[in-house]
């Protein structure tokens, strides 16, 4: 169990693709940290640099405080689960799990005892002599976990291990992975492009984009206090309103949207802003500055609107009403998504807004085509730089 540090790490591939661009990151001892981001943003490359399969052009990699930048993979003591799993097809399940132990010179009997123990831990006792191709997808996954952890590595690395599985097995294995990780207490770096997976598994999430880290924080911080428009959009669903600052009082900011509605929102608490220079928590949010307001669908409140007042302009709204005038919308579609009711709404200018309610929480007597007003609590709306 060790800490992992990436210090100003940069990796450019032949051909000029800058896969990782000056990333600094600390994974704390025993922590489950997820690298989250769209495909091609450099997650795999970062992970492979920790494992030693890629050499950074600049910067250093530290494991347990020791500089391992030039240490080859077979001397790094990491346990990696590959995206393809990479189970050896010509070996039995047991031999797969034994492989790392044998490489470390553990005696045959001791290695076998340990391997069987690991297989029991992932509930695969009795499958020792099968070949990987004789197992189901979920079982193969668990063999890969057992094989990586059998050698008691100091770091556990996983590259999108669940990408190829269907949703149900994926859920089960996520729970199992988290339980396993906590039982062993191992420092873990997990890579995924699936924000939902990242939210449910991680102690902390590092959101990546174009080879850089956009924001690092707990799932809650990332969700409630996104540092950038990109993070707000990538992690969870959100509604974004572009506009200009009209007035600012402390954390509270009044913004005039491009459609001309005035809304109120707050600056982020800055909890998760460690890494990002794009953060709008900084002091220079001042009248006239272009910003974006992010509002989560569950923060959207709908009120019925007087049909007659609709007129040609948003006359039913008071632009000077302290931001409480809201935004007039038309209901386009109502969807029932599990325990949520999802409203798809359109502003007069044609921007889509999505609002969700818990089923049974409160029902609006409003059908398709109905007129409504969208409001939200400024505390639940974030001001971000464009």
């Amino acid at each position: 169990m060790s800490q992992v540090d990436l210090v100003e790490v940069t990796k450019t591939f032949p051909g000029g693709v800058k896969a990782v661009d000056g990333v600094s990151l600390t994974v704390r001892q025993g922590e489950f940290l997820t690298l989250l981001g769209p495909s091609g943003c450099g997650k795999t490359t970062s992970l492979r640099m920790i494992a030693g399969f890629e050499q950074p052009d600049a910067g250093r990699v530290l494991i347990g405080g020791r500089d391992v930048t030039r240490v080859p993979p077979y001397e790094r003591d990491t346990g990696m689960v590959f995206q393809s799993l990479a189970l050896f097809p010509h070996m039995s399940v047991l031999d797969n799990v034994l492989y790392g132990l044998r490489m470390r010179g553990v005696s045959r009997t001791e290695a076998e005892r340990r391997a069987r123990e690991m297989l029991a831990l992932v509930q695969l006792s009795g499958y020792e002599h099968r070949r990987p191709h004789q197992l189901s997808g979920g079982q193969r996954q668990r063999v890969a976990f057992a094989r990586a952890l059998a050698v008691n590595p100091s770091i556990f690395l996983l590259d999108e291990p669940f990408a190829a599985l269907d949703a149900k097995i994926r859920d089960e294995l996520q729970v199992e992975l988290r339980r396993l990780q906590q039982r062993v207490g191992i420092t873990t770096v997990f890579v995924t492009h699936n924000q939902r997976e990242a939210m449910t598994l991680s102690d902390r999430i590092a959101v990546m984009r174009d080879g850089r880290i956009e924001q690092i924080g707990s799932p809650q911080e990332i969700y409630e206090d996104p540092a950038t428009v990109f993070v707000a959009g990538f992690v969870g669903m959100t509604n974004l309103f572009r506009g200009h600052v009209v007035e600012r009082a402390g954390r509270r900011v009044r913004v005039k949207t491009e459609e001309g509605f005035v809304v109120e929102a707050e600056l982020g608490a800055g909890t998760g802003n460690g890494a990002s220079k794009d953060s709008a928590a900084a002091g220079d949010v001042a009248p006239g500055k272009p910003v974006t307001v992010s509002v989560r669908p569950e923060s959207v409140r709908l009120e019925p609107r007087d049909q007659d007042a609709r007129g040609g302009s948003p006359a039913g709204v008071d632009p000077s009403g302290g931001g409480q005038g809201g935004i007039p919308v038309t209901v386009d579609l109502i969807r029932f998504v599990g325990e949520l009711i999802e409203y798809h709404l359109y502003t007069p200018g044609g921007q889509e807004i999505i609002g969700t309610y818990q089923r049974g929480q409160r029902t609006l007597s409003m059908g398709q085509g109905g007129a409504a007003i969208v409001r939200f609590d400024p505390k639940e709306a974030r001001v971000l730089w464009r």
Partner: protein, 294 residues
């Protein structure tokens, strides 16, 4: 929960670590329907005629080899294995068979060892010099064997080392190297790189990775390479004839020179053994390489 707002839909990466779109199964419905079309009947007839053209001559050889008389007669005069007996008791024929096997085995090992080292090194370190070597190694495929043979003659004369069985082994080893080279390279390209990385991640040094992961995974391709090189050497005539300079006689050379003097059915018997052996090796190589043609 999906995302709304200006966020691009999460598209899967295309950087090679994801499954490619599967190529759908191509043609698995042998259409047995017969359209009432004369051109199709013609095609069907042609098929069977050509198939007969391919098979019948070899069948005739088999018939001649078990025919007791020196010449085939109609109707045949019975069945006899006397020509096989003559073949397998003649020291001349046995010597030819022995030479053929020695040359085939030696050259197959040589060809495969060249191919294996070249393919393995290039798979991991694609240096330019190595790429030139790969192209050089593939060139015999495009050169007429006569020309290769004359080149070897000139070479071995010049270094004053001609007419020995080692020359044949070397000549066939080089001449047949493209086949194991192709087979092993394609085998290596099918080995998922992550398997080797995974072994390294578990603490295996590069040499150990090679021994415990890479080589076991391409074993079938290596064997298929050896078999093919063996098969080709066994069947090769002109390079062997030129390089041997009348001193080393292989089976095809013996069959050929016997033809000049006689039409003895022993030749047919030798040919049938040849056909059987070749057929078996082709079948074995095909099995090992996992269906080369279908």
């Amino acid at each position: 929960m999906a995302n709304a707002g200006p966020r691009p839909a999460p598209s899967r990466p295309g950087n090679g670590e994801d499954m490619g779109a599967g190529i759908g199964p191509v043609l698995e419905r042998p259409s047995r329907r017969r359209w009432p079309d004369p051109s199709l009947a013609l095609v069907g007839t042609t098929f069977w005629v050509v198939l007969a053209f391919i098979v019948v001559p070899l069948g005739v050889l088999a018939a001649v080899s078990v025919h007791p008389g020196r010449f085939m007669t109609f109707p045949p005069q019975g069945f006899s294995l006397r020509w096989y007996q003559t073949l397998l008791t003649s020291s001349q024929w046995l010597e030819a068979i022995r030479n053929s096997l020695v040359v085939a085995l030696g050259s197959a090992v040589l060809a495969t060892s060249i191919a294996l080292v070249l393919a393995l090194v290039l798979d991991r370190y694609p240096v330019r010099f190595g790429e030139y070597m790969r192209r050089l190694g593939m060139m015999p495929l495009f050169l007429p064997p006569v020309i290769m043979g004359v080149a070897f003659v000139a070479f071995f004369y010049e270094i004053g080392f001609s007419g020995r069985i080692e020359n044949l082994i070397i000549a066939h080893g080089i001449f047949n190297a493209p086949f194991p080279l192709l087979l092993i390279s394609s085998g290596l390209s099918k080995v998922n790189r992550e398997l080797e990385e995974s072994a390294m991640n578990l603490g295996a040094r590069p040499a150990t990775v090679l021994r415990t992961v890479t080589l076991p995974l391409i074993r079938a391709d290596v064997f298929a390479g050896v078999l093919f090189a063996f098969l080709l050497s066994l069947n090769e005539y002109i390079v062997a004839f030129l390089v041997s300079g009348f001193t080393v006689v292989t089976l095809p050379i013996e069959i050929f020179s016997s033809l000049r003097y006689s039409f003895s059915p022993v030749i047919a018997a030798a040919s049938v053994l040849f056909i059987a052996g070749t057929g078996f090796l082709v079948w074995l190589a095909d099995r090992l390489a996992g269906g080369l043609w279908d």
